[in-house]
């Protein structure tokens, strides 16, 4: 009897949270899945079921392919830059400056993560600016050719990757720092006596022992990388100043299809593809994490 009462209480207690969660989180996902199988132009009442037609069209859509490719390059580019840089920076902060100024470095590196995206992107737009930007000024000072960072198709993607990495770095360093602080000191002392140098300890001990942290940070970085939008929108305008065209990304493509072309069902099918990609990548990363747990 008591047990049943407790159950009832527990369910009643979590029901409001669960309801809000379902409404805000689950419903939009299911709605997106449903919409992806329908044709809808926002305005009309009719949403005819068209099966997988949206997905079939996606296979032939050149703009979608471009957006998917750009987004994938950006997401993995950010991952490849952020993870090693964050790990090395966290190690330097942790081992080189243990107490006195480490707080300053932590804050300095974390700050980009909390700064509003648009002003930050505007600042980087100035840095990358072909004529007025300090980056080209530095390049010409050292005798290199100035580059059209935000207009060249390849360089503009690199610019977006740099901006995204700069932002992702703060969070990744913070998580790594927590990881470094949790590593037992005696292991490193033992390694010192075993003859390991600083870099060897980092390679043979810190890196493998921080694997769970690396996996977590990778998942977070990759997922946010696939959702890149504002960075590309602000940073990479085309020659006419139309924002976002230069580096077309998936989220931008979806927005255009939804609200400019009034093809919400089609945009929903893009969202489903994005969801599947992120889901598969996350599953792969989690399975790697579990493998380590078994060892």
């Amino acid at each position: 009897m008591l047990r049943r009462k407790r159950w009832l209480f527990a369910i009643l207690a979590i029901l409001p949270t669960l309801a809000i969660f379902a409404w805000l989180r689950m419903y939009p996902i299911f709605e997106t899945l449903r919409l992806s199988l329908h044709k809808w132009d926002i305005l009309s009442k009719n949403k005819p079921f068209i099966g997988l037609a949206n997905f079939q069209e996606l296979l032939k859509d050149r703009l979608f392919h471009e957006a998917l490719l750009n987004t994938t390059i950006i997401a993995f580019g950010v991952l490849i830059i952020t993870i090693p840089t964050a790990m090395v920076l966290a190690a330097l902060i942790h081992y080189r400056t243990r107490s006195r100024v480490s707080g300053f470095y932590e804050t300095a590196i974390f700050l980009p993560h909390v700064v509003s995206l648009v002003p930050a992107a505007m600042a980087w737009k100035w840095i990358f600016d072909a004529r007025l930007g300090p980056l080209n000024a530095v390049l010409t000072f050292f005798g290199f050719e100035p580059q059209a960072w935000l207009f060249d198709p390849t360089l503009s993607i690199i610019s977006v990757i740099v901006l995204c990495s700069w932002q992702a770095l703060g969070y990744a360093v913070l998580i790594y720092l927590v990881g470094f602080k949790s590593l037992p000191v005696s292991l490193f002392e033992a390694a010192k006596l075993d003859g390991a140098s600083g870099p060897q300890s980092f390679w043979f001990l810190s890196m493998p022992m921080l694997k769970p942290i690396t996996l977590y940070v990778s998942v977070v970085t990759l997922v946010s990388g696939f959702n890149v939008y504002a960075q590309a929108f602000v940073l990479a305008s085309d020659a006419q100043g139309a924002p976002g065209r230069q580096v077309r990304v998936l989220v931008l493509d979806m927005l255009e299809n939804s609200f400019r072309n009034y093809r919400v069902g089609y945009a929903a099918s893009e969202a489903v593809v994005l969801l599947l990609i992120v889901l598969v990548l996350t599953l792969i990363q989690f399975s790697l994490l579990r493998e380590r747990g078994r060892a």
Binding site: S186, K192, A295
Partner: protein, 359 residues
């Protein structure tokens, strides 16, 4: 193998002096135990020998070479940590061979040396497991194996048995001693457990507050403690201390306790009459005596263990404990008289706490 000399070594953390002018000579091949209560500086001293702490003053010499500024890896030492410090992501074989791998030894050489060490320690079947799949005792052996494969000049042990249960501790104590007998490698072992120190050491260094209180063989320390601290620290159950005065009584020098009991002091004791002194008597050196002889009082605790009986007797304001070989029919509240065996008491100067003479 090598001798280790610690010469006038000092260390402080900020304003706190951890080690004060310590001098210890560890002979080649000896098993030396640094023992003392928590915070006495014994672990810090060991870490200074290992190179994990800087030496503020003085010098440490290993095998005739001053190693103050020598990197830990070049000191030719191996250390076993209290928590074993095994690398959790490496197998037992990788853990044991890690130092050889860093020293760029060939794979066959590493496998041979790890295999040899594993055979000695009975770890052959566990080489492919991970540390968390082993029991505490097995992990302890792996930590020892990691030290052995390096074939160092000196072994350092930092309270290696304190994480094990009592039974395993006794077993590992024996294994460590066997190991030392086999390799004859100079060993410096830190513990706060005086039983470990007594049973394993060739030489014990008793430390307190960063100072060496006494250095000697286990039985020397037991029989001739230099001061009250060593007397109380070495031996279990702990030594009894009775405060009183040295007096002349019936033409003989005696020690009179605060409660009025008199015990003889041997002639030529070097204690002047009227000296405020403390008499140390080990519980196991007390025997039953007839009424009026020695020390008498009411029993407050009685604990029979079969082979021995532990009793605590109230002597006026003092309490005295005794470990008796025989069984007692007495019970709490009964009167009991005890007398120390001749030549087993220790007289200390109450002011300096230093030992005066064997009374």
């Amino acid at each position: 193998m090598a001798a280790v000399e610690i010469r006038n070594v000092a260390k402080s953390f900020g304003p706190t002096d951890i080690i004060r002018n310590v001098n210890v000579e560890v002979p080649d091949g000896a098993f030396v135990v640094l023992v003392g209560p928590s915070g006495c500086g014994k672990s810090t001293l060991l870490r200074m020998i290992a190179g994990l702490e800087d030496i503020d003053k003085g010098e440490i010499v290993i095998g005739g070479r001053v190693i103050n500024d020598v990197e830990p890896k070049h000191r030719d030492i191996a250390m076993v940590f209290q928590n074993y410090a095994l690398y959790p992501h490496m197998t037992i074989a990788e853990n044991m061979g890690f130092s050889l791998r860093l020293a760029k030894q060939s794979k066959t050489e590493i496998a041979r040396r790890v295999g040899d060490a594993a055979r000695i320690l009975g770890l052959t079947d566990y080489l492919h497991r991970f540390p968390k799949q082993l029991s505490g005792g097995q992990r302890q052996r792996v930590a020892m194996g990691r030290a052995i494969v390096r074939q160092p000049q000196v072994f350092l042990f930092d309270e290696p048995l304190s994480n094990l249960d009592a039974k395993l501790r006794v077993q590992m104590r024996g294994e460590l001693k066997d190991m030392h007998a086999r390799f004859k490698t100079t060993t410096i072992y830190v513990t706060h457990d005086q039983i470990e120190a007594m049973t394993m050491a060739d030489l014990i260094v008793v430390m307190r507050d960063g100072v060496v209180e006494q250095i000697g063989s286990p039985l020397d320390l037991y029989d001739f403690p230099a001061n009250m601290f060593v007397g109380s620290f070495i031996g279990s159950p702990a030594m009894n201390f009775l405060t009183g005065t040295v007096r002349q009584h019936d033409g003989q020098q005696v020690f009179e306790t605060g409660s009025g009991f008199r015990l003889p002091v041997a002639a030529g004791a070097g204690a002047s009459n009227g000296l405020a002194a403390t008499l140390g008597i080990r519980p196991e050196h007390l025997t039953l005596s007839s009424r009026g002889e020695g020390l008498g009082g009411k029993i407050v605790t009685i604990e029979p263990t079969g082979s021995e009986t532990f009793v605590v007797v109230q002597l006026g304001a003092d309490k005295i404990s005794a470990l008796l070989r025989q069984r007692l029919t007495a019970s709490i509240g009964d009167e009991l008289w005890l007398a120390p065996q001749a030549g087993t008491t220790h007289l200390f100067d109450s002011a300096t706490t230093k030992r005066l003479v064997s009374a």
